[in-house]
């Protein structure tokens, strides 16, 4: 039968393309501990949900003998599928085909699926595994990158964009991930840099390994380019799937509701925070003590650990958390932590996720390096992000809230909707020791026993200002609450903020300090 023959022909064509760069290349890929592009997509998406497009696209290189070569699917797989039922658009570069290099048709396939994702208002997941531009195609491959960056930018804040780095991603190619919302890296597999070790060695004479220059750990701990670190591709895919459950499909929707669940009993909120404001604790335990199931999904866990960001659910609703971490660098604000938190706040604001801020910080980190690194400019990002955000903003002051840090951490003055303080809160211009030294300088220096006088004045200051009641008397704090009431009150606050609507003055866009 004629039709049967044609179907057979299609099946044969498919089989050939599905082999990608051929068995040898696939073996090499596996030897590096990597999966093939299609395997990765299958591992990530719901079973049988993937539909591939542009399978038969071929490259258009006509120089340097490229016309004699066949590059199946031109080294990139695109399609749509679902993750826990949520629609997603996916592209995955196929390193087995010409090293996943990006030529004109390769980039057209990527931009096609990007356009589709934006039009259909669904998340886009890009799996990067590419040697870079296909040199033989010259400026056409540069054009391809530019078209991708433009779409990343236009889609930013409309649909969630996730970048997964599962191989090299070097040179200009790194800027697509950098423009997206979340970057996933895997130890020993991900490599990202603008100029590689070879170039650095020839130009500057500095020797460094690929791993130390732009490996997964470096981007997770040092540069802040990556948001999620994992030890295997499998773990990485689990992180992606989990993230998808926390975020909405696009900026006009809210994240999916889940069945509400109580926090685990082992997180006793009343005993986590020590009374002495100089003693450390893990603020993540406070978050775990208030979120459903004690399930806190941390973002950028290894970078600027003095601030903690991530998602949890309150009564089934996705909520973003920003919290000072007293255990790390006393929870100070600095260049890196301001940058980290500000970007997350803008993410939550763009995608309709309420923000809960937990405050316990001594202020900003002093130092020449901080000042010279631009802590003024970077610190301003945090003020900007909180002020600009119109999603429900809830603040709980757990303990210290001193000086500029108090203002920056989602204070009433930046239009937090609800500000709560625990009885242990100390809202003041600075810590008692510093304040007493300034206010009572004369009394202290002229006293017979300056040390005793200082101690006395510090105690005086503590008694008067180291509490939440001065701020509460002005209405800067809406309620002083017991730790054990926190979850109930926060859930109530989110519930009553469901229809929050804040008119903003018309503008093309603001000018955040970046």
């Amino acid at each position: 039968m004629a039709v049967g023959k044609k179907i057979l022909e299609l099946q044969k064509k498919r089989e050939k393309v599905l082999l990608g760069g051929g068995e040898q290349a696939i073996e090499k890929q596996k030897a590096m501990g990597k999966r093939t592009a299609r395997e990765r997509i299958m591992a990530l998406l719901d079973d049988n949900s993937f539909n591939e497009y542009d399978m038969f696209v071929e490259h258009v290189g006509r120089d340097f003998d490229m016309e004699k070569k066949s590059l199946p699917s031109d080294g990139v797989i695109i399609g749509t599928g679902t993750i826990y039922g949520a629609p997603v658009a996916v592209f995955a570069q196929d390193f087995t085909v010409a090293g996943g290099s990006l030529g004109l048709m390769h980039s057209r396939k990527i931009t096609k699926i990007m356009d589709h994702a934006l039009k259909m208002r669904m998340p886009l997941i890009g799996i990067n595994d590419s040697g870079g531009a296909r040199i033989q195609e010259g400026v056409n491959s540069l054009a391809g990158y530019g078209e991708i960056f433009f779409r990343n930018t236009i889609s930013s804040g409309v649909i969630p964009q996730l970048s997964v780095i599962l191989g090299p991603c070097a040179g200009g190619a790194v800027y697509s991930p950098a423009l997206t919302d979340f970057v996933f890296v895997v130890d020993n597999i991900s490599k990202m840099f603008i100029t590689g070790p070879e170039v650095i060695k020839t130009v500057l004479g500095e020797e460094i390994s690929m791993e130390d220059l732009g490996g997964a750990r470096i981007h997770s701990e040092v540069t802040g380019n990556a948001h999620f670190f994992s030890l295997s591709e499998e773990e990485c895919f689990e992180q992606i799937k989990k993230l998808i459950t926390f975020i909405p499909w696009n900026n006009s929707k809210k994240a999916r509701m889940f069945e509400p669940a109580e926090p685990l009993a082992k997180y006793n909120i009343s005993t986590i925070v020590p009374e002495d404001p100089t003693l450390p604790y893990d603020v993540k335990d406070v978050i775990r003590a208030v979120v459903d199931n004690s399930d806190f999904f941390e973002i950028m866990e290894l970078y600027a650990r003095n601030i903690v960001i991530g998602f949890g659910r309150m009564g089934g609703r996705t909520t973003g958390f920003v919290a000072n971490q007293p255990m790390e660098m006393a929870g100070v604000l600095d260049v890196d932590s301001s940058d980290k938190a500000a970007r997350f706040i803008r993410y939550c604001d763009a995608f309709n996720v309420p923000i809960i801020t937990l405050v316990d910080l001594p202020g900003y980190l002093p130092g020449v390096d901080q000042e010279h690194a631009g802590v003024i400019r970077h610190g301003a990002k945090l003020l900007y992000a909180y002020s600009e955000a119109t999603v429900p903003k809830l603040t709980v002051i757990l303990r210290k809230a001193y000086g500029g840090g108090y203002i920056a951490m989602s204070s009433r003055h930046l239009r937090a909707d609800f500000v709560f303080a625990w009885p242990s809160a100390e809202i003041a211009v600075m810590g008692p020791e510093g304040a007493a030294n300034i206010i009572f300088r004369k009394e202290i220096t002229s006293a017979e026993d300056p040390d005793a006088m200082r101690k006395q004045k510090v105690e005086e200051y503590k008694a008067k200002f180291a509490n939440p009641y001065v701020a509460a008397s002005r209405g800067y704090v809406d309620a002083v609450i017991e730790p054990s009431e926190t979850r109930r009150i926060l859930m109530h606050s989110i519930e009553v903020s469901e229809n929050k609507d804040v008119p903003m003055p018309h503008k093309k866009h603001g000018l955040p300090p970046f």
């Binding site: 130009v203 500057l204 004479g205 500095e206 040092v222 404001p277 100089t278 003693l279 450390p280 650990r305 003095n306 007293p326 255990m327 790390e328 660098m329 006393a330 929870g331 100070v332 890196d336 001594p362 202020g363 980190l365 002093p366 130092g367 020449v368 390096d369 001193y402 600075m430 810590g431 008692p432 020791e433 510093g434 030294n437």
Partner: protein, 105 residues
């Protein structure tokens, strides 16, 4: 608790906070005011020409050496009137950023 062992103290406004100190903070470069008598390479590169010798008297603005970096021939000039105390580099040296090249007196 094993975390307790890793804790140090951080002084913020005269209060000592017990906390973990980040490696970035520990490894930060201590600030040192610039010394105009020390001619340093402001960029990694190669010394291609030296125009002065030890003991020579030099005037402000005088050409000291050429540092080739990033395909540019950078001309390093003398920041003040003085005398060459020592020349630490030689022609053809590949130097890193901040390396001492010439000392004035």
């Amino acid at each position: 608790m094993k975390i307790k062992d890793k804790l140090g103290f951080l002084n913020i406004n005269n209060s000592l906070y017990q906390t973990r100190i980040s490696s970035k903070f520990k490894n930060r470069v201590k600030y040192q005011p610039a010394d105009p008598k020390l001619i340093l390479s402001f960029i990694p590169g190669t010394v291609v020409e030296i125009f002065v010798s030890q003991g020579q008297k030099v005037k402000k603005g005088e050409l000291l050496l050429i540092l080739d970096a990033m395909k540019m021939q950078n001309r390093l000039k003398c920041p003040m009137d003085g005398k060459i105390k020592s020349i630490v580099t030689t022609k053809g040296d590949r130097v890193s950023k901040g390396a001492l090249l010439i000392e004035l007196e």
